[in-house]
């Protein structure tokens, strides 16, 4: 049994450890970024705050994003082309994007339990095909894509749908 003092010490150590990890991550992260501090007039700051509030954006993520958006990589000609494309396609693409995202999510969610049952389903499938062969019904044994699946294929399904590494 650990004493309260030992627990307090351990908590302090783990808290310190966490702080060290965060500090190390911030150090690595800041090396990959440029720290900029620029003063802007209060009026411009208020306008920015109002925009963020209206769009429901967080200052933390949105300000670097707006700076990026304000410094486009495209030429004026490309932006004009994009602008007219947006006018004609925005609603359709938003609609298609939202629908496709929802459908993809539904299939992904369904594939989780199906994958958990996959080792059993595959073993059963092979056993049933063997039984059919044994009773002389070879002609009724279908040839399927999954006949050649090995552990690596099953592991890949688990990685994707159970451990969710593709998201």
């Amino acid at each position: 049994m650990k004493t309260d003092a030992e627990n307090t010490d351990n908590n302090a150590v783990s808290h310190k450890g966490r702080k060290d990890v965060i500090a190390a991550l911030e150090e690595v992260w800041s090396r990959e970024k440029v720290h900029v501090k620029i003063s802007i007039p209060e009026e411009a700051a208020e306008k920015l705050e109002e925009f963020l509030k209206e769009k429901g954006l967080s200052r933390r993520d949105a300000v670097p994003m707006l700076i990026r958006y304000g410094l486009p990589e495209e030429s004026d000609e490309e932006l004009e082309k994009l602008r007219s494309e947006k006018e004609s396609k925005m609603n359709r693409i938003w609609g298609e994007y939202a629908t496709t995202k929802f459908k993809a999510y539904v299939y992904f969610t369904e594939n989780g339990p199906l994958t958990r049952r996959l080792p059993f389903s595959l073993a059963k499938n092979r056993s049933l095909k063997r039984q059919l062969t044994d009773v002389g019904l070879l002609s009724l044994v279908p040839r399927d894509e999954w006949d050649g699946w090995d552990d690596a294929v099953v592991d890949e399904y688990f990685r994707k749908y159970v451990f969710r590494s593709c998201l």
């Binding site: 911030e26 990959e32 970024k33 440029v34 720290h35 900029v36 501090k37 620029i38 003063s39 802007i40 007039p41 209060e42 411009a44 700051a45 920015l48 925009f51 769009k55 967080s58 200052r59 933390r60 949105a62 300000v63 670097p64 994003m65 707006l66 700076i67 990026r68 958006y69 304000g70 410094l71 990589e73 994009l82 602008r83 947006k86 925005m90 693409i93 298609e96 994007y97 496709t100 995202k101 459908k103 993809a104 299939y107 992904f108 594939n111 199906l114 994958t115 049952r117 996959l118 389903s121 499938n125 049933l128 059919l132 009773v135 019904l137 009724l140 399927d144 999954w146 399904y157 593709c166």
Partner: protein, 109 residues
């Protein structure tokens, strides 16, 4: 510490305290040089343009992310059909075996 923060200064202005990717920072400096503006006015102009073109840039990102999403959707759908097909086939094969056993029993009697 990460992301952006504002600090109010004594003269009423606000300091935008932000971490930028190297590419964005380089583009900002290039814009500042080309437009011959000081950092403050350059940043105000950039932020203003960012706000004006917000939906345009969102549209661009939407277009860019639509193709990988569509690919992912096709893959999930195909694999969903395959996983269901294995279970469906198991039921069919079981029924064939049951029918076969029944026929054999009937033939014996």
């Amino acid at each position: 510490m990460w992301g952006a923060r504002f600090h109010k200064t004594n003269d009423g202005n606000m300091v935008v305290d932000v971490f930028l990717e190297h590419g964005t920072y380089d583009r900002f400096k290039a814009f500042q040089t080309a437009s011959r503006l000081d950092e403050t006015h350059a940043l105000v102009q950039v932020l203003q343009r960012g706000m004006t073109d917000y939906w345009l840039q969102e549209f661009k990102h939407l277009k860019e992310s639509y193709s990988p999403l569509e690919k992912m959707f096709t893959e999930f759908k195909r694999e969903n059909e395959m996983l269901k097909a294995i279970e469906r086939e198991n039921e069919e094969l079981e029924n064939i075996l049951k029918d076969n056993a029944k026929r054999r029993r009937e033939a014996k009697t």
